[in-house]
Amino acid sequence: MNKIVQWPEIGPLFRDGMTVMFGGFMGVGTPLGIVAVLRESRVGQLTLIGNDTAMPEAGVGPLVASGQVSRVIVSHIGTNPATGKKMIAGELDVDLVPQGTLIERIRCGGSGLGGVLTPTGVGTVVEEGKTKMAVGGKEYLLELPLRADIAIIKAKRADRAGNLVYERAARNFNPVIAFAADLVIVEVDELVEVGEIDPDMVMTPAALVDKIVLSQGA
């Protein structure tokens, strides 16, 4: 099965109203080529799920600025003033989720779990509307799974089968979102033959990856 695709094939994979999970932390580990394709497409009403909305010119920031996003589920928006402005103007729904809870909800969505019990948020506004449970005398919140139509991932290296290696802290959300979407698209700096990545070094197994595109800067 050939998973390697060319850039013109990326845009048509997205539709209005889709939910897209993205890797990256303040833009580090976000597939910027795929974000650029989305930005140039006319796709709108997107829901984005990821750590943060980065900066206006970094990570998924340009998609927020262009008005193609109607909802974000993130842990932080403070470094991108456009997100806050659009939220206040009523143009963007912002669900703020504690970072550790967000990644666990995605992990649940990708691993067949119905939710997770976390102490994070107990006694704060985060607990509003949620089921609270005591286990062993300690209180927890039930947090529900998250999934997406498409996950967009940035990896350092892929083999032609789709085994992935990430670079340093650019790993962050990427290996977790690879489990939690119906279609997984990876932008890579380097493409190698099957067998060239030591099996012990694989961080995301090829079985999770659907499409691979080579970064244009690479």
């Binding site: 833009g27 504690p98 994070t120 948020g121 790993r171 959300f173 990427n174």
Partner: protein, 216 residues
Amino acid sequence: MEAKEIIARRVAQELKEGYVVNLGIGLPTMVPRFLPKGVNITLQSENGFLGLGPLEGEPMPGVVNAGGVPCGLAPGAAMFDSATSFALIRGGHVDVTVLGGLQVDEEGSLANWMVPGKMVPGMGGAMDLVSGARKVIVAMEHCTKEGETRILERCSLPLTAKSRVSLVVTELAVFSISHGEFVLLETAPGISVETVREKTGARFAMADKVGEMALA
């Protein structure tokens, strides 16, 4: 000595050899400069590694701290994904987190993530850190720029976590919270208990011997 330096120097005394420590942005990042000689700690960065170090030379691809700023890696650093990073944090594998604060109250609750109508940046990893770290130290200036105390009977701002703070260090005083009791442990050099009382909204008990803050 500047307030921030007083706070950072005192917090540094709390960190022991071998601790795994997570530092919030701002003032807490000053703490490692003042570590006692011979004390080695490992810094955790919530974006996915242990072994955060100062940037030496050119930025390296993918090596940034939790503020997205290029940083260095200490020898023996380990990289991982965000689920692992927060398993470390919530699972009690981080010995100490040092965080800035907007308000702390006598129940040990902390507010540091939003001001309704003014500042809604999101909580990032702060709620998980305060919920999960073994020890939570709040390092902040005692009063706001307008002179209002940040140490209250009850926080008026939305909480980051309830009853999780165990030590509060300001430029005037050190308080501990244990077994539901808010206790004045130390005052800064030249600061009287009366001054601390005037500038503190929380009710506090006195330690058996209120000491002077060590700023070595």
